[in-house]
């Protein structure tokens, strides 16, 4: 196993390098340049815009820009005062030596710092979505399979279609208006809860006023709406996968054997059926979690969740190349690790699998 993991990691290195080259190339091919977007201001003179372009190095040839990002520029003379003349050795070390450069938009800020500021919120929300989505999805899927053809099965089919087709931005706005405005605010007052405020916060991750962010168990109500809206689609998809997988397992020989042994229904379904039906999901788990780390632009936008998704989206829109590439690097590494994790989980869950 250890050799296998090591081999996979070594194999991943050229893949990662290839990804960065292709993404950098595509990014520079996209029409629109950072200076036009950063300095779309008529009060800035032409020479000021030229100066900004030189400072950012965006007028250099593609290969030079890529090399500077990859291996730094401390091996070459650069124009430090943006006057059009090279005057000193560069001081960037490049991504291979852990230097992610500086953001174009957030001048002087390290992209990794900016991402790290928001990663906690993204992980927090996505763990909640994964927990709610998977546990609900798997449970609903199993119960639908158990009651195949019954009213529960039929209603979960409706749920799946709705969950998969209702756009998150619409659903998000609807629940926001419902819980924030439409729902009577005194609904829980008989229970001694609330004093005229919305039942659930309409956005944010923490209380909006000074005092930092309290521990998660004191602000779990901020998680409820974004998690519910985000998990709705996950539940819809995973419940159908689970139902199909469970129904496939039902007809397996070992299930017949279990029944023949006289085990009761719950033992047959949950001890033997579920454990085997859930196996294919191990393959998805790693990449799914990694995918969720990328954040969700729509959920973050509607619920003002301070995650990585909006930061990445803004970086793409404003052509903030160092920010985009830092995100690409992190996503690429995590994706590779996610697939390796999947393989490991598969080996753990299925004793027949050996590497």
């Amino acid at each position: 196993m250890q050799k296998y993991i090591l081999r996979r990691i070594v194999q991943a290195l050229p893949t990662l390098l290839g990804i960065t080259f292709i993404v950098y190339f595509i990014m520079l091919l996209v029409p629109g340049d950072p200076v036009s977007l950063l300095a779309f201001d008529p009060t800035l003179r032409q020479d000021e815009r030229d100066r900004l372009a030189r400072q950012l190095g965006v007028n250099d040839p593609f290969i030079l820009q890529y090399l500077r990002w990859l291996i730094g520029d401390d091996w070459m003379m650069v124009d430090t005062n943006a006057d059009g003349e090279v005057d000193a050795w560069g001081d960037n070390y490049g991504i291979l030596r852990g230097d992610f450069g500086t953001s174009f938009k957030f001048r002087g800020s390290n992209p990794l710092t900016l991402i790290a500021e928001r990663l906690g919120a993204t992980i927090e929300l996505n763990i909640a979505v994964l927990l709610v989505g998977l546990t609900s999805g798997i449970t609903i899927g199993v119960l639908a399979a158990v009651s195949r053809g019954g009213w529960f099965d039929k209603s979960t089919r409706v749920l799946a279609v709705v969950g998969d087709s209702v756009p998150a931005f619409w659903l998000g706005l609807m629940v926001l208006v419902f819980f924030g405005i439409a729902l009577p605010r005194d609904i829980l007052e008989p229970m001694g809860i609330g004093n005229g405020s919305p039942l659930l916060p309409m956005g944010g991750r923490c209380p909006p006023v000074r005092g930092g962010c309290p521990p998660i168990f004191l602000r779990i109500h901020f998680l409820i709406l974004p998690t519910a809206v985000s998990a709705f689609g996950v539940i819809a998809v995973w419940s159908r996968y689970m139902r199909a997988s469970m129904l496939e397992t039902i007809n397996a020989d070992f299930m017949r054997t279990a029944r023949a042994k006289g085990l009761n229904h719950s033992q047959v379904w949950f001890r033997h059926g579920l454990r085997n039906a859930i196996l294919p999901f191990a393959v998805f788990l790693g990449p799914t979690f990694v995918g969720l780390l990328g954040g969700s632009v729509i959920i973050e936008r509607i619920f003002t969740w301070p995650g990585v998704g909006l930061l990445t989206f803004d970086a793409l829109v404003s052509r903030d190349y160092p920010m985009v590439m830092a995100n690409v690097m992190i996503a690429s590494v995590l994706t590779v690790l996610g697939y390796i994790l999947s393989d490991i989980l598969y080996a753990i869950f299925d004793p027949r699998v050996r590497f």
């Binding site: 002087g108 039942l199 779990i220 509607i302």
Partner: protein, 596 residues
């Protein structure tokens, strides 16, 4: 089951506990005016250092924390001495109009007690001019500290004493007055210690939290992607009531304006700039009528830029020696008669009423109703028959006697001056707006329909801002693109940033319509050197400037937005003006915010 019940009980407690812990009602007094919460779509500030900031989010924060040399009077939009937050107690020019002496107030201090003096401004000037920091404001100086040309007009800044600043300009210029204010004074006694090793250190810590400030609020608490909280600073000497009423000022990041509107209605924000598409709800819906609102004409205008030059061959306005390069005309829009015909073909009143719910004031030049030079007499006349007459006169004929099919060129300008083979070509052009706004798309479709009624073949498309709209706009490869300019305060009628050949640079310049008119340039240059920058004398010159722009139509000027700001019911001491809705924030008494 027991475990589930325990979990559910804990969950309910978690929800219930914060619900119970809310603000009580507030009363006036130092720090007793409640918490002011507003929303911002500008994203996180790039920096808390005013010397290197260039984004709106950063400027919004440091406007609460630092003084400026001149301050805008919120009641008339003009720079005046002795106003709250401003350092100047007076100023005068010498006879040449190139030396500006600014006298500073002696009654203001940073919140650590250190007087604010000319040294604070001078430190900011030297840091900006050093070239060691990436300051977008270095361009106000003629040269950098090392002699490198910087392109601006400020030659020198001196401080003969603690309360006098003398600024020398390379030439008399009314516009350069505002350049002085581009440099924000910083506490020199703190910054000189922090950056004793050189100004470059500023770039290493763009988000350093300022410890010594001057303003109604202080003590930044920043949560990325979430909020910026400031606390009341009771040492602020310019507060309206003699104390700062709110205890805290919070700006929450809300990327979506509809979400911000719903959260405001839900009571989570104190103040809202109401989106134009939601304004009528606040005027008509019973449950929203209780929200105090202020409506005003904003200081910006929307327009369709009309490319005067051939989009297949974009050229710069000037050659290397500074001579004007004659450009091929745009096949359709190069002719003034065609541009004027479009102004008669489109019913802007109907557009404002039908698409913008009446939220707009029609304009026909670059000046806006709140400007001291605005001429309300200049208005486009909606007259489709006149539009068709002008098109015929311009050589675009209705060959099939069906006004709604595209006219064709018969000795039109392009055929006469560039290529005779152009005769027989259709009167066709592209109308583009940026994606992301339903209102803009509706306006584009409206223009298309109106223009096609008089014989155009106008093709409307909404295109992506970053990857398509901006590249074709600054690349000068468009026909008609819709855009809006937001004008800073004070609003000045100078047009050099938009219609001078120097800024007709394919790829980056803002004269993207490639328009210039010698008389206009001459008049504008005269308007900038009027002795004492007397507004009456300048207004006379800019009257003629407006007439030329109205006649030549570099843009189809459309409207100035009617804006609306609303606050929570019960907010006290909110005194909005067209020039500022928030200048009295330090006096507000804000009702309890709904905080679940």
């Amino acid at each position: 089951m027991k475990r589930i019940l325990i979990f559910l009980s804990l969950l309910l407690l978690c929800v219930a506990a914060p619900l119970s812990a809310q603000d009580a009602d507030v009363a006036p007094g130092p720090g007793l005016g409640g918490i002011v919460i507003n929303s911002s779509t500008s994203g996180d500030p790039a920096t808390f250092n005013p010397l290197i900031s260039s984004d709106t989010a950063s400027s919004n924060v440091h406007s609460w924390l630092y003084p400026s040399i001149f301050t805008i009077n919120p009641h008339n939009g003009l720079e005046e001495p002795n106003l709250a937050g401003g350092m100047a107690s007076g100023w005068e020019y010498d006879e040449s109009g190139t030396v500006l002496t600014i006298h500073l107030r002696e009654d203001i201090a940073w919140n650590d007690g250190t007087p604010i003096t000319s040294a604070d401004y001078l430190w900011a000037v030297e840091a900006t001019r050093s070239g060691e920091i990436d300051s977008p404001r270095a361009g106000v100086f003629e040269t950098m500290a090392d002699g490198t040309p910087a392109g601006g007009k400020i030659v020198n800044v001196e401080a003969p004493d603690d309360y006098t600043v003398v600024v020398t300009f390379s030439e008399a210029d009314c516009i350069s007055f505002s350049d002085v204010n581009d440099i924000t004074p910083v506490p020199a006694h703190i910054f000189s210690e922090l950056y004793a090793d050189g100004y470059a250190g500023i770039m290493d810590e763009p988000r350093r939290i300022p410890t010594v400030t001057f303003g109604p609020f202080k003590d930044v608490e920043f949560a990325a992607g979430e909020r910026i909280s400031l606390l009341a600073d009771q040492s602020y000497p310019d507060s309206i009531l003699g104390f700062v009423s709110p205890s805290e000022h919070v700006t929450l990041q809300v990327a979506d304006e509809n979400v911000a509107t719903e959260r405001f209605i839900g009571g989570e924000f104190s103040i809202l700039a109401v989106p134009s598409t939601r304004q009528n709800e606040f005027r008509t819906q019973e449950e929203l009528l209780e929200f105090p609102r202020f409506e005003f004409t904003s200081n910006g205008f929307s327009f369709f830029g009309m490319n005067h030059a051939n989009p297949d061959n974009p050229q710069p306005g000037l050659d290397e020696d500074g001579n004007v390069i004659p450009q091929e005309p745009h096949p359709v829009l190069g002719d003034k008669l065609v541009r004027q015909a479009i102004s008669h073909a489109v019913d802007i009143d109907a557009l404002i009423e039908g698409i913008r719910d009446g939220n707009g004031v029609k304009v026909a030049t670059h000046t806006i109703p709140t400007s001291w030079v605005y001429n309300p007499g200049l208005q486009y006349v909606y007259d489709p028959a006149l539009a068709m007459e002008k098109l015929t006169k311009a050589g675009w004929i209705d060959h099939d006697e069906d006004p709604e099919t595209a006219r064709i060129c018969q000795d039109c300008l392009f055929a006469r001056e560039v290529d005779a083979d152009f005769n027989g070509s259709e009167l066709a052009l592209d109308l583009h707006v940026p994606t992301g706004s339903d209102t803009s798309e509706q306006m584009g479709l409206f223009f298309q329909a109106e223009m096609n009624k008089v014989g155009f073949n106008a093709n409307f498309e909404a295109i992506d801002w970053g990857s398509a709209f901006i590249p074709e706009l600054v690349g000068q490869t468009f026909d008609m693109n819709m855009l809006g300019w937001s004008l800073g305060l004070p609003v000045d009628p100078d047009i050099s940033a938009f219609y001078f050949p120097e800024v007709d640079v394919p790829g980056s310049g803002f004269n993207f319509v490639s328009y210039y008119n010698e008389e206009l340039i001459e008049l504008n240059n005269q308007g900038r050197v009027v002795p004492g920058c007397d507004t009456e004398a300048r207004a006379e010159i800019y009257e003629r400037v407006q007439e030329i722009l109205f006649e030549d139509m570099p843009y189809f000027y459309m409207y100035v937005s009617e804006s609306m700001t609303a606050v929570l019911p019960g907010t006290e001491n909110w005194n909005p003006t067209p020039y500022s809705r928030t200048y009295s924030t330090d006096a507000w008494v804000s009702p309890a915010i709904a905080m679940p």
